[in-house]
Subunit: 330 residues, 4 copies
């Protein structure tokens, strides 16, 4: 449900147009220096503003309610909140009649018997990811020596990053949207994280990544491209006593356990489902297929803002696995 983590855990809540969104982070080590400013950078990476992002701009000011005392974490749960301020009081009831294609409108309607808050996607809104980014900041503080490098390596089919602005311009002009691939490289993870059988690193990280709306593919190392390789080519020979490998086709993970090499992750983020272009959908009231024009403020390429969210998810998963691993240290 809305809770994840065995020791380092996160519990999220909130809706796009309700009072706000938030997260309760538990299992944090006491004695970590932490203040509002620590969240600024990652939250700014999630912000809208640039080309291809929504014109709805929120200040995303973080409110810390608990778990910090005299500037340090206490070991008690940390409650982090964000108010919803810039919500437009328009009529969203249209969504009930006309579920938007590729959105959660229809499935949520069915699952929650029509009681779900559908305004702006409600609990399915990307706004929920504010809490994830905030939790990720704390997770990173628990991962000393670990470095994340996150970038888009494919935008709407284009893999040359110098042409991404052009892709965005065209997409916005066409009132359409694009997805792509986020690539995350995690350096500095010690050997031994991951808890097979079921809690392999890949299992934990994919669990978290796939909970982000729009993620429809996760791969490690070569990923699917490795389907064309022979074993003799795919295997990564160890070349030193620290387990460094010549190649890294396994993405830094063997048997579900980190092997000391960089952890390489790709996540496919589907094209933003909300587009300006006219679409067709079923009218649940009159039973006809009708034209649908989605108004409101949307992201033509939510993947731009998703980068830091996915990176945060990886940090959350690794922080939990690190604690578990530490429990067994001599």
């Amino acid at each position: 449900m809305n809770h994840f983590g065995r020791l380092f855990s996160v519990n999220i809540y909130g809706e796009s147009h309700g009072g706000g969104v938030g997260v309760v982070v538990d299992g944090v080590k006491p004695g970590i220096k932490l203040s509002e400013e620590d969240f600024t950078y990652d939250l700014s990476r999630r912000k809208s503003g640039g080309l291809g992002t929504t014109p709805r701009i929120e200040d995303d000011e973080i409110i810390i309610d608990s778990g910090i005392f005299n500037g340090y974490t206490t070991g008690a749960p940390i409650s982090l909140r964000f108010l919803n301020k810039n919500t437009r009081s328009k009529d969203y009831s249209n969504l009930v009649k006309h579920p938007r294609p590729s959105h959660a409108d229809f499935t949520a309607l069915c699952k929650y018997d029509g009681f779900n808050d559908y305004r702006g996607g409600g609990h399915f809104s990307g706004r929920i990811t504010l809490g994830i980014v905030a939790a990720g900041v704390i997770a990173k503080k628990m991962l000393e020596g670990v470095k994340f490098t996150t970038k888009i390596t494919n935008l709407g089919g284009e893999t040359d990053s110098s042409k991404f602005q052009e892709v965005l311009r065209n997409t916005v002009m066409e009132k359409d949207s694009v997805g792509g691939i986020v690539s995350i490289c995690v350096d500095g993870v010690k050997i031994g994280l991951g808890e097979p059988y079921f809690d392999s690193i890949e299992s934990i990280l994919s669990h978290l990544l796939f909970s982000v709306g729009g993620v429809k593919g996760v791969e490690f190392g070569t990923g699917f491209k490795g389907a064309s390789m022979r074993g003799s080519e795919f295997n990564d020979p160890i070349i030193d006593e620290n387990g460094k490998t010549k190649t890294n086709n396994n993405g830094g993970i063997n048997g579900g356990i980190s092997n000391g090499n960089p952890i390489l992750i790709n996540a496919f983020v589907k094209p933003t489902p909300s587009i300006g272009k006219t679409q067709e959908t079923y009218n649940l009231i009159n039973g006809k297929i009708e034209k649908l024009d989605i108004e409101g403020r949307h992201d033509a390429a939510i993947i731009l803002r998703a980068q830091v969210v996915l990176e945060s998810m990886v940090a959350i998963g690794l922080a939990d696995l690190k604690l578990i691993s530490d429990a067994y240290k001599k």
Copy 2:
């Protein structure tokens, strides 16, 4: 660790060369007709024997220790076991010195301080998946009306299935190995399975799939190919009151919840790491890079036998999500 599932849960154990392998399945509905014969078909799909599979043949006879009474499940945990019979008492200590590339040898050695059972991969052996297949059989019994269609859609880069035998012949001849892509289509899943935020269908299924050794990629619907699509193309318009969609690029899942259309899953299985060809690896004792010849009986294409294992994992995840969903039914 070795336990997964909130209500329908599995707990696995065992090693390749120990007494045997097994699984304890809990949270099973009482009153399901179940006997040894019910396991025969799926266990046979996992068996070796054909081209590209290991010559180590075990009879894989299932032993039911508990949870069945008068031919029906009782609601108590079901213990299922398999004896290890056809183990060769050879010297495996070589593996400690020479960790095999792309295997768990090195990471397990580090993580478990050298105490892991390394014979035949120990707890990391594919033999553990016997318990998964057995648990999957029970899971399927709890998923009335659900149908699984599982096949290999890419074998060593080849996507034309009529040429797979050729790929295998060449691979075996070259003393090499191949991986590929397993595609699973699940029909008949009702609308409403999946528990966002964290327990989306994709999260639960990927968690389970990535715990299988060798799985390095999981995607739903179009998967990574969707990176080249525009939103207007990717979105799946609803065309009837049951939520049927014109296309199924989302793979039957919206917002982490099943939408009533077939659930489409691809999993990339890496080439079997054990190959007959000479490889290089680091000698942990003398600090030199040395030639490594892996003896023993191995699968040139473990993906052949992995199909039913991955299908079983999907069944296990869906059975758990179905129970959770049922808890909230009126």
Copy 3:
């Protein structure tokens, strides 16, 4: 840690002198009518004000941040908060030097390396129970037909309730404190709640009850008094087809499963550790045993306010067990 529940779950946070306290309640059925007023009655039962309770009076106004839409639960997590208003900005650093006897001061200091928020007990404060009471209100809404009767049956050794005011008067006069026994009778629980082996009703309820500060004993049915009974006397003969029993020495539970008879629970709440009387304690700085006078506003009989908290815990546990049981209903 701060999360409990398999399906219906609660996640609490907050400190006595921080921004506030709160709870995130997840796994709630959609479609339950719920507004701020629903919490008034149980929150008022927890309030101070009467003889034997602290003069610190907070208005305990509940703030609902999420999970409610148009007056009904949505199925998304419900965030409930309470601000801390009436906190005295005095110097609490004394507690670090002089850990108060029978409080968490010393153990928290050690466990959290001195980083815990010690002001007013911090996360160990009874103020945290506001979230429990709020969660309990929702739990009760999910338990249709279930009725709770909660009372004090022993106050400082006195079992005649007509003399409780006298006990309180004497205790306050002596600047001392009393504990006692809270007895909860739960009527209307259907047969079949409880998930042996480990999640028997007794296990789940005691787990929750013992997490309330000051609870040091939990018993069901006759409880410890049954040690003097013979089996022939203790056994509860079934007398009708609904499982009604002649006696109820087992407290409505057999084999960890509700048997349809009233569930009978006693919980021992220890005397409030904060007393006005001079005590002795160890001075961690100078290593001497010194006199300690605890200032501040305290409850001479926290048990008075604990009643509704314990009742809420029972409701939380039963709501979770009911959902699990419902998952297996035909």
Copy 4:
């Protein structure tokens, strides 16, 4: 359900008259010396044989299937099993008609729709506790420096242990049964175990203790007797820098966290429900209240054999809490 523990976890299964009973223990540290002989002592403490115990004698030989290699734990799950040998093939269908008072017969029948294995109590049989004792042996190995002292302090109302044989003789003669109180003192637990809010030591231990059939009361320190004490008397003054207290009314736990003093636990075990004396019960078939004579081999004082089971449960809980605590060590 049948799984407990966050890191150190146990998963039990089995029935009284099925193939056997067992436990899978996960989260065990690698490198612990462990062989069959290590289980002998505690298993012998659980054995029948003496006055007041059942004449059904099983050899209780332990079978280790996995998780041990070269005499040491490997870090992989340990499967431990016991065969059922001495089962009498008599007709138990009587129990369906005549549910035995104070047994799980009636509740299990209802909960599992009549599919439960009722022979000898099935999954509710005390025989299941073999797995608990076995898991406890491993738990104790993970608790270096911790010492358990377990004894009966009340047998059928008698608290003078020199008269216990007399109590047993009388009880057996009367074809009746007795319960009593098991007292466990745990020495050597370091300061800092326990994970408030919800996973206080008391919560975890009571959860485990109450899952043992027949336990109907758990208290720490003075327990219920403390209801008569004033705070000034109940509070335990700290007298040295290690947190040693003058008295130990709190039973070694403050705020749900171990304080370094001995942990004191009492558990009330109800009189064995199976008695030789004629009882009354409801006949579910004909709707009449009828005489019931329970045949078979039973314990007049199951509490005698329960001692080591309860001690094992405490060890299991402490081992898990110790690992969690270790995860946060510097």
